[in-house]
Structures are given as structure tokens and as C-alpha cells.
Symmetry: C2
Subunit: 376 residues, 2 copies
DNA sequence: TTGAAAGCGCTAACAC
DNA sequence: GTGTTAGCGCTTTCAA
């Protein structure tokens, strides 16, 4: 008996079943057990059956560490997100986990909280566990960390722009379509003054959304006004601050598009608190279509970007590189977007005013209402 | 050169740096490198420095799989949650991850979606990766799965009641304190008819919350009414349904306590839609104090149960068992709760009525308002 | 088709 | 103190 085993038994430690136990039980060699488990087709039908029976009876399963060590394949994937408490990400994680597990992979999640040190730690953790690829869904990453990953030849997948590299893939989100649909929807309702609360503009994805907005506006002949273009930070609080600023303007817009749903929900809160009725006094459009969007009051009109698609795209990209089943070397996934109309958008107040002359009354009544409430 | 390595190099595969490279570079044996890395104090200062320098220069880090295989310690912990898209859980995961990583552990997350098959899959995944413990935060688990874990001698930690077992720990949430504070707060505001929307009662934790409510009520001499005790499911949608039911009663309550915040947020939505002004017409109290609670409209009065405490308790319990540093064999963590008063609670309408006789007017005005809106 | 045996990268005995 | 060496549980040659 080996030294290690004897030691363990002395210390009364658990000893896991191993492949030898199965081999003995099935009266075959460990090689045959291994081949059976790995479904190598050359194994004799009879022996295979004996092996499966033994596995069943002993309730055996292989030790992943050992398999990984010898085969060099950990079947571990890293998933890097900005902030796990932002509802967008759990929905993404759920989708990613589902598909990864279905393919026998396990996931290591890293939440960076927009902190560089934390991001470095996350990447180090993933490297140490020998992940076979990492999906970088943080909408931004620093150069040295990229080097670290690419120098170890770890496949990567990015949202929007990834840096060039043989093992790098990118998911291309079609921001333009959904955002343009939103702008057209608003214009069709008579809105001419539309604000945009962006995300942090140093993030490529946030920048791309803003650009898509500006282009869409231009396309239908509307002008943007710099004071209506506010940089937020993709959080609820950021949305609140930006909206407060918008309301303090001498000429506030009649509609706001937001770079993500959390920002829009923040806008909704401030608007409600200020006594504005959404959508009568102001229309609001979000982006992402998180689960919550349907349940805020009023239900949020928003641009849907499917987390399922994103998750699947990320996983498949990684897998195709890791398992070298890449046929079209530079294959990029396109993630579609689509406007979902709910109840936070309506005709522009100006239009109502023209129609019935009641706009000024309604808005001021509401304002009075809110003041009353505050004075209570 | 070994067969494996030669093969890899032929296939042009990446070869990781290993402990031998470091040993060669530092001109010491691999044992010394290993000792240095593991901070065994008997290593000579000089050699240790050479080793660290070599590690630095080569940018080496050890292979976790190999370490785990030989030491029997994977430093992996399982974290089982009900539903990752329920905002309560990401906050818990964040805390758990933080403390686990700080101690050199990695986490495997499993989201069961209240589905038995999925739960079984999650546990199997964790077992195969040889987790050193699992935190079961699903507020409920089935017997056969427990057997599977305990027969493999995996340490476990539960919220509320865990089954007995030498490797099992439990976190005890002091539901009573916070919920009683809520009930007293409501009673102090003149509420006499208080409803409770529970979670799924087959879950011990949901049951415990309801019991705490009932006991608190009794303690201050209030009676519960069965029609005001509704079983929900801890989701926003469930809260909406339950609240609709409450509003359809011939004698609706003047206040609602909810078993969690998502339920309370659902209640808020339905009340807003029905034209009720919260808190003037109805008071609402939640449970958990998720981040969102502060940002709904109106900001939610709720009972805080700290996710940080829960996460720390779960991790430390697991670690103390896994690392056998358990001093007090049956040590249980107590998780405190505390009422956080925000703006969703106010004096009972009856009280206002008595004071100024304006209640009937205000509530009916609001109802009219909502009908108008719906007819728009 | 099967089994014996060589290692995957590391830790920990044991000898020096 | 330090180095040599025997495995951890598995996959994958290679020979039979």
C-alpha cells in the first residue's frame, strides 16, 4: 500500500473511490474503465456493460482534477463581468452557465466592480485554475491584462471590439437597429427634443450606443443638443442624477433615451418624485430589456439585447477556439437588438398642447401635487 | 524527454512553465521551490529569495489541478442559490466570493431555479470538481441529495435549519427581531389590520418569517385574519398577484408586510397601478433590504438581513469544518435583522380619518385618477 | 481489443 | 535545511 494512502487512513480521512476500484469490481483493467468512460468505441460491448454496471453500483465518478492534469483540459471557462449586482449580468451568467454546463464545462465568475486591481485578481485566479478561455463582458479591459492572457494563449471573447489576435473573437451588437427604432418611435409620437443619458464613454460599448443614437437622430433630420447629451454611469443612481440635471435645464427635453435600463429606471424614479407623469409629461426609453423593465411603473419601453444570444455567442466562440473546431477563422457573432414598446412612451406634450391646449395645466397640476406631498 | 511533452511540442501546443523550470532557473531542487511557495519556514532565506526572483522573472504560478490532486485540497467551494436573477442572490454571491477569494478559495455557483433536476445536476457538478464544502442558500433541499453530500463527507452549511450531521452547520437568522420591529412600527402608526404575504411555505425560511410575524402580532395583542395571510412565492409577480387579491377583499388591510423585498416591490406596483398612494392609503414593509429597495418609489421600509453577514457566516462555517479548525463543535452563527424605516409606511388611513375626516376623499380621488388613466 | 506502464505538475515523506 | 523520490487519479501510448 502506498505511503499516502496509509497516511490518510491513519488520519481517518475519506478516501474517494477511484478508477482502480471500478476496474477491480468489473474485473477489467483501469485502461478499459477509462476508455469506457470516455466512450472510446473500440471497447467490447460486454466489457463496457460490466464497467457501467460497476460504476453504477459503486456510485463512482471520475476525479476532475486528475483528468485535467493528464489531459491538459480543465473544461473550465472564465466569465468576467463588471458588477454582478447589476441585474443585466445575472441574466447573462444564467444563460452562459446553462449552455456551458450542457457541454460539460464549469464556470469561474469574476466580478470586477470597475476596479482595476480586482480585475487583475480575477484574471490571475482564472489563469491559476487553467481556464480554457475567458469571456470578457466588462465592456472594457486594460492592455497589460490582455497581454497576460494572450501570452498564455488563452482564447478570449469580447463584446464589441476585441483587440486583434489569433485566439480572440468578438460579439458584434447591432446597436444601430434597436436604437434607431427607438428614435423613430419617439419621432413618430411627435418628440423633437430627445435627450440621451449615456454610459461611461470610455467604455466602447457605451460610446457605440451614443453614436448609434446620434446617427439615428441625424438620419431622420433631428438635431441633437449638447445639453441634452449627458454622460451617466449605467447605474440607477447615475440615471437619477442625470435626470435631475435634465429637469433643471431651462428647456428640458420631452423624451429621454437611456444607455441601459438601470439608468432609465433611475430616470423614472426622479420623474415620479418630481411629480411628472410618465409617459404623459415625458417619455423614457431604456436599453437591455432586463427582467425588471417589465415591472417598473410604468412598464418600460426599451431596446432588447438578448442575454441568451450574448451568452450563446460568447460560449460558442470560446469553445470553437478552445476545441479547435473553428472553421471560419474570423467568424463574428451578430447580436440583434429590437425595440420593445411598453408604456413609458407616448405622444409628445407639445402635440397634446396643440390638440387640446391642456398640457400646461396638466403638468403644472402635477407639480403642485408633488409640492404638496413634500410639504406634508 | 517524456512522451507526452514531445507529443505536445509536435502538435505545437503550449507548454506551461512548471516547477522544474523555476528550480532550474533558481538552481535549487523542485522541493525547495515547492516549500518556498507554500511558505514552509525552514527554507533558507537566501534560497527563498532566489526562488521568488525566478518565479517573478519567469512569471510562473503553480498548476492548481496538480496541487489539488496531490494534496487532496481543491480549495473549491460550492454555492447553491435558488435563482441567480433574484437580486438577493447576486448580493450574497458577491459577499461570498469576496471573502472566499481573500482566503484563496474559488467558488462554483449553482442556480437551481427551484427545479429538482437542476439541483441534482448542480450537486453532481460540485461533487465531480471535488468541492471542499457547499453552502446551501436555496432555503430548501431534498433528502436524497443530502445523502449524496453527506455520504461523501462534504461539509455543508444551511440557512435556518440544516439536517443533523457532524459536518453540517447552520446559520440562524433572527427573523423575530426585525419582523417584530416592523409590526410594532406599524402598530405605532395606528395600523390594526396588517396583512402578510409569505413566501412558499414548504420552505423553512419562508415559514419561519410567517411565524415570526404571527408571534409578533400576538405579542402586541393584535389578531391575524386568515384572509390577510397570503402565500406568495418570493417573486415580484407573486407579490403582484397576492396584492391584487388583497385589494379585492371586502375589507382590505391598511398595511402589508412581505416575506421579501421582491414581493413588496410587486405590491408597490399593483398599488400604484390601482391608484393607491403608498404610504398614505396603504403601508408596505419588505424583508431583505436589497439594494433596489432604496430606489423604488416610494423608498421601501424593510427589514434588513445583511448579505455580508450571511456570506461571512456561510464561508467561515464551511472553512472551519473543512480545515478542521472547529473549536466549538456546534457553533452556530446568528444573523441579526433590523427594521430600516424609509417612506413606504405612514399613519393608518383610519387615524387620518379620525383626525381630519379627509380619508374617504383622498382615497376615492385617487381611484378616480386611475380610472381616468386607464380610460385614456 | 486489451492491459501494463509511463507520466501530467505537484507535495510530502525520507534520507542526507 | 535540502534533495531525491514516490505517488495523487487519471489518460494514453505501446506491445501483446
Amino acid at each position: 500500500m502506498s505511503t499516502n494512502k496509509r497516511l490518510r487512513q491513519n488520519r481517518n480521512e475519506k478516501r474517494h473511490l477511484d478508477i482502480r476500484d471500478v476496474a477491480r469490481h468489473a474485473r477489467v483493467s483501469i485502461a478499459t474503465v477509462s476508455r469506457t468512460i470516455n466512450r472510446i468505441p473500440t471497447v467490447d460491448q460486454h466489457l463496457a456493460e460490466r464497467v457501467w454496471k460497476a460504476i453504477e453500483e459503486l456510485n463512482y465518478f471520475p476525479n476532475t482534477q486528475a483528468r485535467a492534469l493528464v489531459s491538459g483540459r480543465t473544461r473550465l471557462l472564465g466569465l468576467l463581468v463588471s458588477e454582478i449586482t447589476n441585474p443585466f449580468f445575472p441574466e447573462l451568467i444564467e444563460g452562459f452557465e446553462e449552455i456551458a454546463v450542457a457541454h460539460g464545462y464549469e464556470i469561474l465568475i469574476g466580478s470586477t466592480s470597475y476596479d482595476l486591481t480586482r480585475m487583475a485578481t480575477c484574471i490571475r485566479r482564472m489563469l491559476e485554475r487553467q481556464v480554457e478561455g475567458v469571456a470578457i463582458m466588462t465592456f472594457g479591459i486594460e492592455q497589460p491584462l490582455l497581454e497576460e492572457l494572450s501570452s498564455r494563449e488563452i482564447p478570449m471573447v469580447f463584446v464589441d471590439a476585441g483587440p486583434p489576435g489569433p485566439l480572440v473573437r468578438a460579439l458584434t451588437v447591432d446597436y444601430r437597429k434597436g436604437i434607431s427604432e427607438g428614435v423613430v418611435h419617439l419621432a413618430g409620437l411627435g418628440h423633437r427634443s430627445i435627450a440621451f443619458i449615456s454610459g461611461p464613454l470610455r467604455q466602447g460599448s457605451a460610446h457605440a450606443r451614443k453614436t448609434a443614437f446620434l446617427e439615428s437622430l441625424q438620419e431622420i433630420g433631428l438635431k441633437s443638443r449638447s445639453e441634452w447629451l449627458i454622460e451617466g454611469n449605467h447605474t440607477l443612481e447615475g440615471g437619477m442624477r442625470a435626470t435631475e440635471h435634465l429637469l433643471s435645464l431651462s428647456e428640458p427635453p420631452t423624451a429621454v433615451m437611456c444607455s441601459n435600463d438601470m439608468t432609465a429606471i433611475g430616470a423614472l424614479r426622479v420623474l415620479a418624485r418630481a411629480g411628472f407623469n410618465v409617459p404623459r409629461d415625458m417619455s423614457v426609453i431604456g436599453f437591455d430589456d432586463i427582467h425588471l423593465a417589465e415591472f417598473v411603473y410604468p412598464p418600460l419601453t426599451t431596446v432588447r439585447m438578448s442575454r441568451k444570444d450574448l451568452a450563446r455567442g460568447a460560449f460558442e466562440s470560446l469553445r470553437s477556439v478552445a476545441e479547435k473546431l473553428d472553421t471560419s477563422q474570423q467568424r463574428n457573432w451578430i447580436i440583434p437588438t429590437q425595440l420593445i414598446i411598453r408604456e413609458s412612451t407616448a405622444e409628445a406634450p407639445e402635440l397634446l398642447l396643440k390638440k387640446s391646449g391642456q398640457r400646461r395645466t396638466s403638468r403644472s397640476t402635477l407639480k403642485r401635487g408633488s409640492r404638496l406631498r413634500e410639504a406634508k
